[in-house]
C-alpha cells in the first residue's frame, strides 16, 4: 500500500467518524488542533484504521500519533 493510498483510506475514516471532509485531511494536519478531533473520536479512528489497514495501534502508540502524516508513517512502517 502506498502512502497515498493510506492517506486516502485514513481521510475516508476521518470523514466518516468525525465529519471532517476528506480533502481537508492532509499530511501536515494535527488531529486535535487542526481537525478538532477529540480523544474519543481518536479511539474510534484508531480502531477503524486497524480494521482497514490490518495494523494494530496500541494506546501508547496512539498518543504519539499527532498528525495525519504520523499515522500514515506508522501504518506504512507496520503493515
Amino acid at each position: 500500500m502506498t502512502d497515498q493510498e493510506i492517506l486516502a483510506g485514513l481521510a475516508e475514516i476521518v470523514d466518516e467518524i468525525a465529519g471532517v471532509p476528506a480533502d481537508e485531511v492532509t499530511p501536515e494536519k494535527n488531529f486535535v488542533d487542526d481537525l478538532d478531533i477529540d480523544s474519543l473520536s481518536m479511539v474510534e479512528i484508531a480502531v477503524a484504521a486497524q480494521d482497514k489497514f490490518g495494523v494494530e495501534i496500541p494506546d501508547e502508540q496512539l498518543k504519539d500519533l499527532k498528525t495525519v502524516q504520523d499515522v500514515v508513517n506508522y501504518v506504512s512502517k507496520n503493515s
Partner: protein, 423 residues
Amino acid sequence: MSSNDRVSVVVTGLGATTPLGGDVASTWSAMLAGTSGVRRITEDWVNPLPVKIAAPAAADPAAEVGRVQARRLDRCEQFALVAAREAWADAGSPTVDPWRLGVAVTSGIGGIGSTIAGYDTMRERGWDRMSPYTVPMLMPNGAAGWISIELGAKAGAHALVSACASGAETIGYGIDMIRSGRADVVVAGGSEAAIMALNISAFAVMRAMSTRNDEPERASRPFDKGRDGFVLGEGAGVVILESLSHAKARGARIYAVAAGAGYSADAYHISHGSPDGAGVAFAISSALRDGGISPSQVAHVNAHATSTPEGDPLEARALQSALGSAADGVIVSATKSMTGHLLGGAGAIESVATILALRDRTAPPTINLEDLDDEVTIDVATKARPLTPRAGSDGPMAALNNAFGFGGHNVTLAFTEYIPKES
C-alpha cells in the same frame, strides 16, 4: 419571599418533535385535528411480543442533527437537541450571559438504545469495538450536557429523573433556577426514545400496555371504557423559561406565565398510584398555591391520563377533589390519545400543548373517547373546544399539566395567560 415580590417566570420559546410532527407547528395542528400518531410496528423484533404498536416520531432526528452528531448522540439526545434548537430559535436566539443561562432537560430512561447496542457490540465483537461515546450516550443527563455545549449555557445543566414525571419535574426545576436567582433564562424539557423490544417487553410484562394491535389508531383511549393500557411514544418537548424582567428588557414574545409547580410522592406502591388520589390532589393544590391561582381560574387541564384502566379514573377523582366545585367548569384533554406516552418526554410535550392551548384559547381533543368511564365525572374534550375565562374568576386564565411517574411521583405545572401590567 411572598408571591408578590417573587421573580415571575414566563415562557418565551417552544420546541417539539413528536409522533404527530417534527416541530411545534405540525404537532399542534395535527393535535387540534385529532390525528393519531400510533402505528403498527413493522420490524421483526416485535413478532414474539404481545404489543405490536407504538407512536414513532414523525421526523428522524438523525437526519436533523447530521451524520457526525448522530454517531455521538443517543436518539433521545437527538430528539432533545432538535427540540431545544427549535425552542431557542423560537425565543429569538437571545443573547444571554452564559453564566445566567441554564439547561434543565431530562429523559425518563436515558439512552437505553445505546445501552443495548453497546452490550450487543461488546458480546459479539469485543469491548474495544464499542463506541467511545457509549457512556455519554446512555446517561440520562446526556441531553442536558449536549444542549449546554451547543448554547454555551454555563449556569448549570440538570436532569431530574422521576420516570414519566421527569419532563414536568425538570421544567419545574427550571422555574426554580430562575426564581432562586441562579439564571435569567433556562432551556427546559424532556425527551425519550424507547420504542424497542426490551422496553415494550418490560412494560408489557407489567400488563401496562395496550394490546389493541389490530386497531393501532384506536389503541390509546384515555378515560374510555374500552381502554386497555398505554401506547409507547417517542420524541421531545422543550420550553424556554425566562424571568419576566429579562424577557421584557429584550422585548421577547411571551406565550404564558410559568406560574407554579406542585409536587408530591404517593409513598404507596412502586408502580401503582394510590387509589385515594391524595398524592395527585396534593400536587395539583400545591401548584395552584405556588402560582397564586384560585381553582376558578383553571379553564383547562392537560391530564396525565395514559389510558390505563387504573390510572385515568384516579386522576379524574383527584382533579375533582383538588379543584372542588370549580372542577365542573374545567375542560380536560388527554393528548396521549394521539401522541402515545412519551415517558420522560410526556410532561414536556404536554406542557408545550398546555401553553399553546392557552395561547389559542383552545383545548385539544381526546380522541377515541367513545364511551366515558362511569367513574369519570370531569368534562373531557372529545373535540377541540374553545377556552374562555371563567365567570367569576378574578385572575388570568390558567391551565394545568399533570405528570405522574412510577415511584409514586406526582407533578403539576400551572401556566397562566400573560397579561401585561400597566406601569
